[in-house]
Symmetry: C2
C-alpha cells in the first residue's frame, strides 16, 4: 500500500499572541503551503485541530473560515477535537484522508487561542473534559498530575528531583527553538523552589497556557518527491483510550492509552521502541514524560525517572526527547500541540532543526488527551 | 478496493429530551451495537458527531465519556465537528477509518442536546459559525434563508405556496416516523398563516430545535455478511465547501458546496442523479430542499420548486425525498442530523422502513453545514 508522506510543516510563534485562532491558523497554514510550494486551491481536504474555539472565543465554524482565509475554496473541511490530543487526532484524520484515497493533498492546521482568558477560566474549560463526577468534586488535570506524581515517587522510590530534571532539560532545549514560548534555562533549584500547584508538583512542573498554531501537509508517498526532497513518511500511527474515570484504573502510574496506541503504531510500522531515534512526548506535566518513556517501551516500568536525571533524554543523549522544548517550554496551545510535535520530528528527520538538530532517521510523537483519556502515537521515518 | 458497509443503525426519539448529550449518545450507541449483535469491546474506532456540547452544556471530551459508557475501553475515539453538517462529516470520517484500513469495525454516534437553552441562545450558538462580520451585523442562518427564498421566488417566478408544500410533505412523512419530533400533518394554510420569521419565510418553513442522537456501524464490505444480511454499502461519498462569506457568492440561489460534494460522490459511485431512488435532504429551511433538488441534479435550475408542489418528491412520487420527515418534522439535533439521514436511507434500502417504506436500491443523503459553508453527500446501495 502507498504510505502517507509529510511534505510540508510550519508553526507560528507560540506564546501570548495578539490574534484570534482563525488568524493563527491562517498564519501557520499559509506558511506550510508556502514551504511546499503548493497553492491553497490545490488542497482537497483541510482539517483543523482545535479543542474549544467556541468556549474560548465564541467562534465556531473555524475550518470553513480557514478555507476562506487561505483561498482553499472547494476543499472539504472538518474540525477534529480530541481535547488536548486534538493535534494528534488531526494527524490521524489527515493520514486517513490520504490513506483511504479520499484526498491526494490534505493539510492539517492545529491551533488554539487561550491567553486572553484567565488561567482559572482556561483550566475550567480543559477540566470540562473530565467525568462530571470528577469535575463536581473539583478535580482538574493538574490535581490528577499531583496525585499520580506522589504515587509514582513513592512506588518506585524515585527522587523528587528527577521530575525537576525533566523541566530543566526541556527548558534547555526550548532556548534553541525560535518558536518556543519560554526561551530561558531554568535550574533544579528554581523548579523545586517554585510555588506549589498540586503537591508534590510545583509551577515549573507544568506547561503554560499558550496561543499558537502549527500545520502539516500530506500526500501519498508515491508522489511526495514531486513536491520536495525533504519529506518524511508516516510509518505507523494509532490511537486508543484509557478509562474515562481516572480512579477506575488499576494502577494510576500506567498510561494504558499510551500503551495501546503505541502497540498499534509499532505493529503497523514494523518498528520497535529500540528503533526510535528521537521523540516528542506530551509533557503537559513533568510526570507525564516519565510515564510515557516507560509506557512507550523506552524504559522498564519504574525506571523512566532516570532518563532526564542521567542525561539519556538530553539532546546529546541516547534518546533525545522533546528537542523542541516540549509542551513545558515551547507551550501548549491545545489543538496545535500534537501537530507541533510532528512538526519537530519532521524537522529533525529532514535535517532542518537548526540548533536543535540531532541524528535521527526514525521519530515518534505521543499526544495525550485529558489524563490519558485518549492518546495518539505517530511514528515517522526519513525519506529513503 | 473493498468498499465500506453499514451493518447497523439506530436513532433515539428526537424532540425535547430529559437527558444530556452523553446519555443520548449512549442510548443510540447501545441500540446500534445491539442491532448488529456486536459487543462494544470489539469496536476499534468510535467517532462522535457533535457541534457544540461545550457551548450548550459545558461538557467536552464526550467521545471518551461515550467509550466509557458503552464499555468500548481501548477504542480510538474522536469528535467530528462540521457545524450542522457534523453528522455527514462523521459518516465521512467513519468511512475513511475503514477505507484506510485503520479500523475494521467503526461506530459513529451523532448527537446534540439543545432544548434546555432558549431558541435565542441556541440560534446564537449556531450563528457563531458565520463570518464575524456577518455575525456582528446580526445575520443568522434563518435570515440568510429568508433572503435566499425571496431571491429564488422572484428569479424563477415560483409561487410562495411551493415552499409551503415542502413543509406539508415532510410533516406528512413524519407522522409515520416513530422517532420524529412532530408527528402531525400540517396544511398549506397553516404554514402560510404561521408567524413570519424571516420574510417571506414563516415559522413552518423552519426546522425546530431538537435533542437526539443517531448511530451507524461500519465495516469492510467483504466481512459485512458475517454480521448481517441487512447491510448497505457506501458507493460514493464526498465533501466540499462554498464561500464562508455568503454575500461573496455569484448567485445565492446556487449551493456550490452541494454541487461540488455531489460531483465527488457521483464520480466515486459511478452513479448519477437518475440512479437515485430515495433521498434525505437538509431541509433546515424549506427553500434548502428546493435548492438541493436542483444542485444535486434531480431538477433543472429553477424547476425544483415544482417537486413537492406536483407530488414528485412525495412518498408515492417518482423520487421520494425526506421519507423520514426531514429535519422539518423529524427535528434537527445538529450533530445527529447527518447520521439520522443515513439511518433513514439504510432503513429504506434494507426494507426496514415500516410505514415509510418505498421501493429503493440506491439512496442519497445530503447534509449541509451553515448556509452551504460545508456539505457532505453520501450515496448508499443495497447489498447485492
Amino acid at each position: 500500500m502507498d504510505r502517507v508522506a509529510v511534505i510540508g510543516a510550519s508553526m507560528t510563534e507560540f506564546g501570548q499572541r495578539d490574534a484570534w485562532v482563525r488568524e493563527l491558523l491562517a498564519e501557520a497554514g499559509a506558511a506550510c503551503l508556502d514551504e511546499a510550494g503548493v497553492d491553497a486551491s490545490e488542497l482537497e481536504h483541510l482539517y483543523v485541530s482545535n479543542m474549544a474555539s467556541g468556549e474560548f472565543e465564541g467562534q465556531t465554524g473555524v475550518p470553513n473560515a480557514l478555507a476562506h482565509d487561505l483561498g482553499a475554496l472547494g476543499a472539504y473541511t472538518q474540525r477534529v477535537d480530541q481535547t488536548s490530543a486534538s493535534g494528534g487526532a488531526g494527524v490521524y484524520a489527515a493520514w486517513q484522508s490520504v490513506a483511504s484515497g479520499a484526498s491526494d493533498l490534505t493539510m492539517l492546521v492545529g491551533g488554539e487561542k487561550m491567553t486572553h482568558r484567565t488561567t482559572a477560566e482556561a483550566t475550567d474549560v480543559i477540566a470540562s473534559l473530565t467525568h462530571p463526577v470528577e469535575y463536581k468534586h473539583g478535580v482538574t488535570l493538574p490535581s490528577f498530575a499531583g496525585m499520580t506524581a506522589r504515587r509514582y515517587l513513592e512506588k518506585y522510590d524515585a527522587p523528587r528531583e528527577s521530575l525537576a530534571s525533566v523541566a530543566v532539560k526541556n527548558h534547555a532545549n526550548g532556548v534553541d527553538n525560535p518558536h518556543a514560548q519560554f526561551r530561558k534555562e531554568v535550574d533544579e533549584e528554581t523548579v523545586l523552589g517554585s510555588p506549589i500547584v498540586a503537591d508534590p508538583l510545583r509551577l515549573y512542573d507544568f506547561c503554560p497556557i499558550t496561543d499558537g498554531s502549527a500545520a502539516l501537509l500530506f500526500c501519498p508517498e508515491s508522489v511526495a518527491a514531486e513536491y520536495t526532497d525533504d519529506y518524511t513518511v508516516i510509518a505507523g500511527i494509532g490511537g486508543a483510550t484509557d478509562t474515562h474515570v481516572v480512579h477506575e484504573r488499576d494502577d494510576p502510574t500506567v498510561m494504558g492509552g499510551v500503551v495501546d496506541a503505541a502497540e498499534i503504531a509499532y505493529e503497523m510500522s514494523g518498528l520497535t521502541a529500540a528503533d526510535v531515534d528521537v521523540a516528542e512526548l506530551h509533557d503537559m506535566f513533568t510526570i507525564l514524560e516519565v510515564l510515557q518513556l516507560e509506557d512507550l517501551g523506552f524504559f522498564e516500568k519504574g525506571e523512566g525517572w532516570k532518563a532526564a536525571d542521567e542525561g539519556i533524554t538530553a539532546r546529546d543523549g541516547d534518546l533525545p526527547v522533546n528537542t523542541s522544548g516540549g509542551l513545558k517550554s515551547k507551550g501548549h496551545p491545545l489543538g496545535a500541540s500534537g501537530v507541533a510535535q510532528v512538526y519537530e520530528i519532521h524537522r529533525q528527520l529532514t535535517d532542518n532543526a537548526g540548533e536543535r538538530q540531532v541524528s535521527a532517521d526514525v521519530g515518534l510523537a505521543c499526544n495525550v488527551g485529558g489524563f490519558d483519556n485518549c492518546v495518539t502515537t505517530t511514528i515517522l521515518e526519513a525519506a529513503e
